[in-house]
């Protein structure tokens, strides 16, 4: 049995998606003609500003495309479904957004992405564009804390890119932008749970199997196996299991502030997400942690995967200011 999808020839799906994106958001985005997988913000890049390029495999929409715009990322390099883009679109992005101050590459920590983006960075250097890279590693489940740098980047990208994008938009120096990006990543913690698989457009087959009554905690946003498989539990119990691991690492003090993201992996409904968000608020209230702001919805998906993730972004004055900094993207606005 094949998963049903509203698609045409899967070989063209990324080009067709991008055509639809450009049709919907002509005021925000344009495509580089010679490198159509390079999507650039109409009003973002400018002279004297550090450029911010994000990117990775497709299938996580609105990540990455949706976060390109004034105040956030200047460009995104778009790969096939769950596959890093090759170096070419990243290089094209770097050239398009370089304002003479250097370009920051930010993306989730996956072997494929690192190889491709590093190749692009080397090529950019040959064109006298300085590239620095900050990998996102917010997925608490993907490696123990001692190996934080080995962790994957998942939904927490949202906060990390937001902070870095704000720093760039405020025309901070390359050093400062890089520092802020690293700090934002260090202050961001995500835990996810999957209830059901998704299918790649080419295969239309579930990318993993899970029992009819099972869930898997820590499963990656490409279906990579997680840390604990077990019987599905109630929303509150699952929320507690995810939060416990986050809070354990973050170890907030009374009066600390956080921003919250309750994210759908695809088919988990807003109704469920808000039920989870309710529990997050209860738990944070219990330990006297203030919620500065919350986002609830599909921000970093895995096609139609069922499940959700919770991200806490541990704020200080600087990160709060960056979070509040306005941005205007194709699929996201703030401030």
């Amino acid at each position: 049995m094949k998963t049903k999808k509203l698609i045409n020839n899967p070989d063209n799906i990324i080009e067709e998606m991008l055509e639809g994106v450009l049709a919907a958001h002509p005021d925000h985005l344009y495509q580089i003609e010679s490198s159509p997988r390079a999507i650039v913000a109409k009003n973002g890049p400018r002279q004297g500003k550090v450029g911010l390029m994000i990117g990775g495999g497709s299938g996580h929409e609105p990540t990455f495309l949706g976060f390109v715009g004034k105040g956030l990322a200047d460009a995104a390099a778009i790969g096939n479904v769950f596959a890093s883009p090759p170096p070419d679109p990243a290089l094209a992005c770097a050239k398009a957004i370089d304002g003479g101050e250097g370009v920051l590459f930010m993306y989730g920590n996956y072997a494929g992405d690192v190889m491709n983006f590093d190749m692009a960075a080397e090529m950019a250097a040959m064109d006298d564009i300085e590239v620095r890279t900050v990998l996102t590693t917010d997925d608490v489940a993907s490696a123990p804390i001692e190996n934080r740098s080995e962790r994957r980047g998942v939904a927490g990208n949202f906060f990390i890119f937001k902070a870095a994008g704000a720093a760039c938009d405020k025309m901070l120096s390359f050093d400062e932008c890089e520092r802020v990006a690293i700090k934002a990543n260090d202050h961001t913690y995500t835990m996810g749970v999957a209830l059901g698989p998704c299918s790649l457009p080419h295969t239309l087959k579930p990318n993993f199997e899970l029992g009819d009554d099972e869930m898997e905690i820590g499963l990656g946003i490409h279906g990579e196996p997680g840390v604990e498989r077990g019987k599905l539990r109630s929303a509150d119990e699952v929320t507690d299991a995810l939060l416990d691991r986050i809070l354990d690492e973050m170890s907030p003090s009374k009066g600390d502030r956080v921003a919250v993201l309750v994210n759908s992996l695809g088919s988990t409904s807003l109704m469920e997400l808000y039920v989870i968000n309710r529990r997050v608020k209860q738990r944070l209230d219990d330990i006297n942690v203030d919620i500065h702001a919350s986002w609830v919805g599909p921000y970093c998906t895995s096609l139609e995967m069922a499940g959700a993730s919770i991200t806490l972004h541990h704020l200080d004055g600087e990160l709060t200011e960056l979070l509040q900094h306005p941005c205007d993207c194709a699929m996201f606005r703030a401030g």
């Binding site: 096939n80 090759p86 996956y110 494929g112 490409h222 990579e224």
Partner: protein, 217 residues
Amino acid sequence: MNSLSSEQLVAMFNAMADSMKSSIDHLCELDGAIGDADHGVTMSLGFEAVRGALAELDPQQAPPTVVFNTAAKSFLAAVGASAGPLYATAFMRAATAVKEQETLDAAAMAKVVEAMVDGIRHRGKAEAGDKTMLDAWIPAAQAANQAPADTSLPELMRQVAQAANAGAESTIGMQAKKGRSAKLGARSVGHMDAGAASTALLLNAASQFVVTTFGSH
């Protein structure tokens, strides 16, 4: 002695493309067990792009080094992923290794395989035993390297493919250390690595092509 012309090298790439195309679901399933279920799609898209780019070449004008360089560029541009940089680097190294050659005999093919391994190792920084495609490529290169000087091209390729098969099998028992499946730790044991599996399929298709072209000796 048997020696592949550029035209035959292109045909060998097409045979590998056929093999990837018919293995999409199988390789995705392997990748799904411990990775992100896309390896079959990536390899097939990549080799189809190679097929397309090589069809544009005039093999009379294009020595093997150009074929390999063309393959490198088209593969990488089409797919990215992990496989893209790894195979692109491998093909570029192969192109350098056969720069002077008009045709590829057994010795040249041995150099190709060894150069590819160097490229993959350089790009991915993985080691033998990390449960990656290297665990199929390294034994393949060893087989090529250890073959007596008078080994025929079909025989060489047969040994290379066999070594890759055994290498791919050996990844079942390994714990992943590089790539997406590395996060898995002990749970990766018991599954064949998708990249090692596709390596074995590629080298078998190449070997089969050579045997069909030249007979088995």
